[in-house]
Symmetry: C2
Subunit: 577 residues, 2 copies
Amino acid sequence: MKIRNIIPVALGQQPAPAVVRNARIFNVFTGELEAGDIAFYGKRIAGIGDYGQAEQVIDASGLIALPGFIDAHMHIESSMLVPRQLAKAVLLRGTTTVIADPHEIANVLGTAGIEYIVRSTEGIPLNVYIGIPSAVPATRLETSGAHLGTDDMIEFVDHNLKRVIALGEVMNYPAVLARDRELITKIEILRYRYKKIDGHAPGLSGKKLNAYLCAFIRSDHECTNRDEALEKVRRGMHVFIREGSAARDLDALIGAVNPLNHHRFSFCTDDRDPLSILTEGHIDHLIRRAIAHGVDPITAIRMATINTANYFNLRSMGAIAPGYKADMVLVDDLERLNIRMVIKDGRVVVRDGNLVEAMSGVFADVPESLGQVRIPEVKSDDLAVARQPGLLRVIELSEGTLLTREARLEPKVEAGCVVADPDRDVAKVAVLDRHRGQRFSVGFVKGLGLRHGAVATSVGHDAHNLCAAGVHDADMIVAARHVASQNGGLAVVRGGRIIASLALPLAGLMSNRGLFEVAECLQRIRGALKELGSEREVFMPLSFVQLAVIPTIRITDRGIVDVDKQAFTSLWVDSPS
Amino acid sequence: MKIRNIIPVALGQQPAPAVVRNARIFNVFTGELEAGDIAFYGKRIAGIGDYGQAEQVIDASGLIALPGFIDAHMHIESSMLVPRQLAKAVLLRGTTTVIADPHEIANVLGTAGIEYIVRSTEGIPLNVYIGIPSAVPATRLETSGAHLGTDDMIEFVDHNLKRVIALGEVMNYPAVLARDRELITKIEILRYRYKKIDGHAPGLSGKKLNAYLCAFIRSDHECTNRDEALEKVRRGMHVFIREGSAARDLDALIGAVNPLNHHRFSFCTDDRDPLSILTEGHIDHLIRRAIAHGVDPITAIRMATINTANYFNLRSMGAIAPGYKADMVLVDDLERLNIRMVIKDGRVVVRDGNLVEAMSGVFADVPESLGQVRIPEVKSDDLAVARQPGLLRVIELSEGTLLTREARLEPKVEAGCVVADPDRDVAKVAVLDRHRGQRFSVGFVKGLGLRHGAVATSVGHDAHNLCAAGVHDADMIVAARHVASQNGGLAVVRGGRIIASLALPLAGLMSNRGLFEVAECLQRIRGALKELGSEREVFMPLSFVQLAVIPTIRITDRGIVDVDKQAFTSLWVDSPS
């Protein structure tokens, strides 16, 4: 936008190309609701006030105009949608800016994967800023598809200086505290370019937190309780309250927000599947939840807009003001936040729950596949686990958190081998190296709710090795092979037969289909999971079973991981605690 | 500071070089007062908590630690001190960071002047960031010493990228609205380097304000009433509340600050003389005034610290937190704000009102002179103003504001010539081109309080031409010549004799003497002004009589200026209104 050209429109000397009329305007700076026209010029707001002349009038009678919502931290790949399809989903919910960390695709394809995310989001009506992944690979405890070194990072950042906004979540906090030279170099590369350094430090506290902050890491989205959030805010962190599909922290954290500290909080979704977005919502859902918890709507909306813009130094976002981007959400009221219209770059993109038709062409153009999924040759027998003395170390999942617990259980044994035990909700889990097709490992997981069959997925944070879980080894093999044959995806198997699946041929992470097709498919998968006896989301928690950077216990293609020790551990343990 | 080196100190694995013990710590993020040690490493804070081991212990029993104060906008030259002497003055009052706009010296010496400010503030215990002057010359209505073009600006900014933080106050708002290509280019140069664009738009409102904001100008320090401040905040400006020596806006503006908008306000001093700083205070004075007006100390301190740091994207200032600069102020309590200690870069620099001795050497090294003052040959007779028909257009000054009014008065005439009229507080004023020694003009000014003699000064915003004012033409000539002979300065003359003066041989703006010497001299000048019958500060208001960018009427070396029309006007006017 040229300053020269917008000024005559702002001054009212030239008619605005478009004007929003009759809205009450929510002012994030003052907390007021104002009356006035909002005049646009190109992708910007030219002025607020009395702009009588306009080429196009957008009538917003009875509506309240809010700034477009900002997601402070998310992974596009977790939606299993390509960026342009994800854009459709979040625009429907009023999100106009996302800070995307392409951590997943980078762990599979390296900078080529990040390039895909950057290039495929050019020119679409969603602001997509990149937090360049700090942890590729995330740990040395799994087989990764790529290594994103300091040399790659300098090159990529300097070639994409306007799109890269941060170093993505520095999850390897032990490496920070151990003063790992490579990681500190990554931080310095971004810091000296005036970018943010985003954090990821579940449970970090006291002197360790001080040290982590000394590395200029100034945000965190991994708080799981109020006191943790308060300590992090006190020490200078900006806390992103996360409400993903699996990790749901809002209820636990919202009590930390008060009138004196609310400007240090933002909202993020991290990992959200398209069904959650379409049915429950995106950032709008977090605003609603916060308001339901008694947070003042002014505060809740600020956390979804200007607070995040301020943190990321996004100078012209997060507010409805002259010179700012013409990105906004029109709602009925501030309680239910019923979204009636979404405007992006000065154009109406959503009306009454539907994308405006003229927009749909923008979202086409999806490649058939990216990268290749290769798994080792594994047969049913290979999954057998011989009974050994002691107790079985089981990865126990909990709803609403990414944290796992270690359960030590008496194994269920058949013919000398440990088997799944649906009565105690224990399933077998296998992780297969999908990058080089070499290693695999077997363990047990509690909490998926599976009573029959098996599932498999090529989505598995952070290296995205192929993971199968179930109660029958043969079904696990069928599921794993099906996913590999599709070049990635999800599969639900019962009695040797695929009863539902979704192909994810883009890096084994994303579908080449449209938003609604993927959403329908996920609905069918939910039905199929019920056939396996589970009322759970299964695939979302299963995708975190490999996540060797969040406590307590995980499984990768190389074995069972003790996260705190960042070391492998045995499947068997002597004592019950 | 190397991240590698601070981490072991933060972790408590290595003793801190220095620790502040027993302070209550003011937390700007949460508004809390916390207990704990503050451990330093080098110029940074390594941690807050329990840091038992330390090489040096700074005992702060009974004191509250606040972050060092930040002045959001000021002109070092207005103190008539060189930067290192100004540093002493403001450090005594707890200011550890200033955003300096070297607008005055730039208008005299161009980039060479800015270079002097930048180089002479390297390595001193004060963070001096530069807002590069946007208006050199400020207008075409006066003879300026320099032209700072877009080419000079690109070169200077890129050579000083870490020190330049903003485009200094864009005061030529008519040129913005008229889409002046040179000015817009200056804005774009800074904007594309992610620097701030600071504003200066007294009274701008409505669509003109919208247009000004569309040029990415996001701050203003020229509000003079509550409604103006509220409108500017509403439209997205960060408002700097100014309390200079002459322009005192705090009382009028503080009522605009409320719990919903306070994060959009900061404090600045703009132009403050050393006597005001030493006796009344600097940013600490604004905090105290705000608290006296009933503002919560938490809010007042935020306006002096983190709010300003956030606006300027000063990532590690404005708070006491790990990784932040070890800049802080220790006070007795939050009401009186009695400053007991100031710490800069982890070292105590001020204790109980005195600079720590070890610091004094840092401030030496001042050049004898910079630039040269040349004035035209002017004799008493040249100042005569012949009586003409109509009323005299007189520049009327008001206390506490830079705005002037136009008074239309019946002239006092002696021997066919208009003379000063002390009974109505009207003095003659002459402005002499000091850059090329060519032009001069004569007018009248009301409000200096002079009853005898004359004064002269080489400080005169923005071109800093030499200005003499008084009731006797001969004394005016003596004063002007004395100032010129000193290569700049202030002079007070009565009966043809210099009764007090201060040489300002550095660009005609700054003394080559130390802080306390200058302060003493200014005290003597105050006494001398009383001998002339004035109880006013005289030199400060007189320095703004040439300021052709702030309404309503001014005088430059080229004539009487109608500011709104940006044109010259006659000394004579027909009608009384």
